[in-house]
Amino acid sequence: MGLAGAVAGFVLFLAACSKSGGTTNNGGDNGSPDTSLVKLGNAITASYQGLAANIAPLDAAAVAFAAAPSPSTLTAVQDAFKLAYKSWETVSQFEFGPATDKYLTTHFTNAFPTDTNLIKANMGGTSYVIDGLGNFAAQGFPALDYLLFAYGNDATLARFTTDGARQYLKALTASLKTKSADVASTWSSTYKDKFGKGKGTDAGSSLSLLANSFVFDWDVNLQNYEVGIPIGIYGPTTLPKAPAKVEGYYSGLSVELLAAHAFAFVAIYNSGINDKVKASSAQSNGQPLNTAITAQWTTLTTKVTTLPNPLSTGIQNNDPAINAFFTEIRKMTVLLKVDMSSALGIKISFQDDDGD
């Protein structure tokens, strides 16, 4: 190879080198959108709009209740809370982009069991920043669940005789209202288009963000927090069972929330993730993977409606239906986390893969 060849090779090499800086992780915009991603983006935007639409009346009802606590204003705010909490279950799968930017995440919005001591301190006059990092366990839906339901309506009305309690309630719903409105408007104005165009499967691509968050929400939030921890699968030192650790413990909403959560998973899966799974050649026990996943969704959504209500009482009574349901959740965890993630070929990390 002559000198010219050497120089040419070198230039080619450098050109290739510089290219890597910009385009290897193609999470960004590259031309026309992907049909399935557009469908998914629309569905996600609609979920956030639904959440914001249910939180606004919750905030209004909380303001009305705080101004004049009475059995009727309490019922109004409790009803609004139930609707809003159930719509939370339709968005907890999307913890990326606008949701993380605005801290509308499970950590800040749905950390349960809630920290009742911190809530009491905050109501009692300790200064607090409602969205502060240290306040995550005293805010969001679980905090409202406690404030609006704990120990019956008489105890609740008694709780709101102080100004501190009323202010705290309003601060909680106002924060949710601002954040949910922000996220809904960001999704509909800009992020939906960006999401539709973020093609590919590298870390940072739309499918990777969605699938990882979706699987994490199933694996950690639904499987572990909503069922696994209350029935006592973790920890050598904790009591085998912890019924008070269910979601929506004080309002007794646990089963309704779990059902809303499970149905929301099915809806999102069927909004375009299914297209991607169908397009793969992946198999499960000799049948197409999508068939296996769809069948398991049916099992889960059928069984969730037969669970003892509320879940905490069922756990106390060792109802075998709950453990049986957990087994079905687990089967789905394997299908989503192993089979689906692998079939889609998505990356979870920005770390380099093995070369060629």
Partner: protein, 430 residues
């Protein structure tokens, strides 16, 4: 015959290829070390994790603290820069090698074939007189200057690269790769948004084309590069192939490492009479080189000594140039049982491992075993005298559907790792 080989190995050659590879490969190492630091991986890989997965036999190695690890990577970057410049060359290459190997041995989570490539190349650079032309060292010590180098110093790089490509090619001669086009069939359609070639990637035949072309490339490139007549064509193919993979896959610096290392096959034009007489190759050096290459040739084939499917069990998988061969995913549910109370509970892996460590552990039996021992130690400290650790593990390989991977009745706390022992508790691939 020995004299023949010996004469062949000491035959003087132009030193240019060595100097060029030193400059370019060193620069790529420098860039990739800076990139590693800039991406925050020193922190993510060595500072954040609570536990690590050291290579067998190196459990005594531990990461230094944050300052220490950044110093290691800072020194590594500096050593790479000095290597490229040819400044304090011998010291620089030794320092780079030690830092790089140290970091690599700390945690097998991060093992990549291209880190192994860097390890070997930087080891060979230590012994090559690559700083005797176009280097700062020559400026400082003009007597170092040489226009020629003994043949062995160049050949060792060539042979090393040939082994890499050829073994990578052989490992692709499987039914999954050639007959089912897996895993490219899973990966390529997802790249349909790539400019120009994107729409093609959605076609099923594209996966077959790339599978066969990839295998053919790997198997033929050593011959194309070794022959003077075909090496230009070979290098053009090298550039095309690696550029393509750089665009399609998230594989970081690997393509550039290969494109720079393969420059060793060029620049061997006639040189003027030697400035520096070529020394005789010492017997022990010859033996060392022989042993090194014997090991290089044997290591990739050690999998033959194990029963079962290599990609499934991963016994003999690392250090064998098996790349891009599998889309493997898994999940594990680890259980700890206190035999004294009979209480059995599940472990939350994420409270011990980072997401990346967990993900890597969930498809690799030796890491599962290490993790079981991490759990055993932890729960002993928690007061469980003889914790029993079992795992329910599901793995899917190339879209074949998840199956139970590890015998879920085996107490992994009672199993020990060994140098090359077979792990009977890995269930066979069905």
């Amino acid at each position: 015959m020995m004299t023949g080989i010996r004469n062949y190995l000491i035959k003087p050659r132009s030193i240019a290829p060595l100097a060029i590879v030193r400059i370019v490969f060193g620069a790529v190492l420098f860039i990739s070390t800076l990139r590693f630091i800039a991406k925050g991986w020193v922190k993510d890989f060595y500072i954040t994790p609570r536990y690590h997965f050291p290579f067998y036999g190196f459990e005594w190695l531990h990461p230094l603290g944050p300052t220490g690890m950044y110093i290691v990577y800072g020194v590594m970057a500096l050593a790479a820069l000095c290597t490229s410049l040819g400044l304090f060359y011998r010291v620089a290459t030794v320092v780079f090698f030690i830092c790089f190997v140290y970091a690599g041995l700390l945690d097998k989570t991060y093992y990549l074939n291209h880190y192994y490539l860097v390890t070997l190349m930087s080891f060979l650079l230590i012994f090559a007189p690559a700083n005797r032309k176009w280097s700062v060292d020559v400026r400082l010590w003009p007597s170092l200057r040489a226009d020629q180098a003994p043949s062995w110093a160049i050949l060792m790089f060539k042979y090393q690269l040939c082994i890499i490509y050829f073994c990578a090619g052989l490992s692709k001669l499987t039914a999954d790769w050639l007959l089912h086009a897996e895993p490219l069939r899973i990966w390529l359609p997802a790249k349909a948004s790539t400019p120009l070639i994107g729409p093609l990637l959605r076609q099923e035949w594209a996966a077959y084309f790339f599978s066969w072309a990839g295998a053919l490339f790997d198997l033929s490139i050593p011959f194309l590069l070794m022959s003077r007549r075909t090496r230009r064509v070979g290098y053009v193919l090298v550039v095309i192939f690696h550029t393509l993979t750089a665009v399609l896959f998230q594989i970081g610096m690997f393509p550039y490492l290969m494109m720079s290392a393969t420059l060793i096959f060029f620049f061997d034009g006639q040189t003027v009479a030697t400035v520096q007489p070529v020394r005789e190759i010492k017997g022990f050096r010859l033996a060392l080189l022989g042993a090194y290459f014997l090991l290089q040739v044997i290591t990739p084939f050690r999998f033959l000594l194990y029963p079962g499917d290599l990609l499934w069990t991963e016994e003999g998988y690392r250090f064998s140039w098996r790349v891009m061969l599998m889309e493997k995913g898994g999940t594990t549910f680890f259980y700890v049982k206190n035999p004294e109370t009979g209480r059995k509970f599940e472990v939350n892996n994420r409270s011990f491992l980072t997401a990346y460590q967990e993900r890597m552990m969930e498809t690799q039996p030796d890491m599962m075993l290490q993790y079981a021992h991490i759990l055993e130690r932890y729960y002993k400290e928690q007061g469980v005298a003889r914790p029993e650790v079992t795992v329910q593990s599901y793995v899917t390989l190339n879209g074949s559907g998840s199956r139970l991977y590890i015998d879920s009745t085996v107490n992994l706390a009672a199993q020990q790792e060994s140098w090359f022992g077979h792990k009977a508790w890995v269930l066979p691939r069905k």
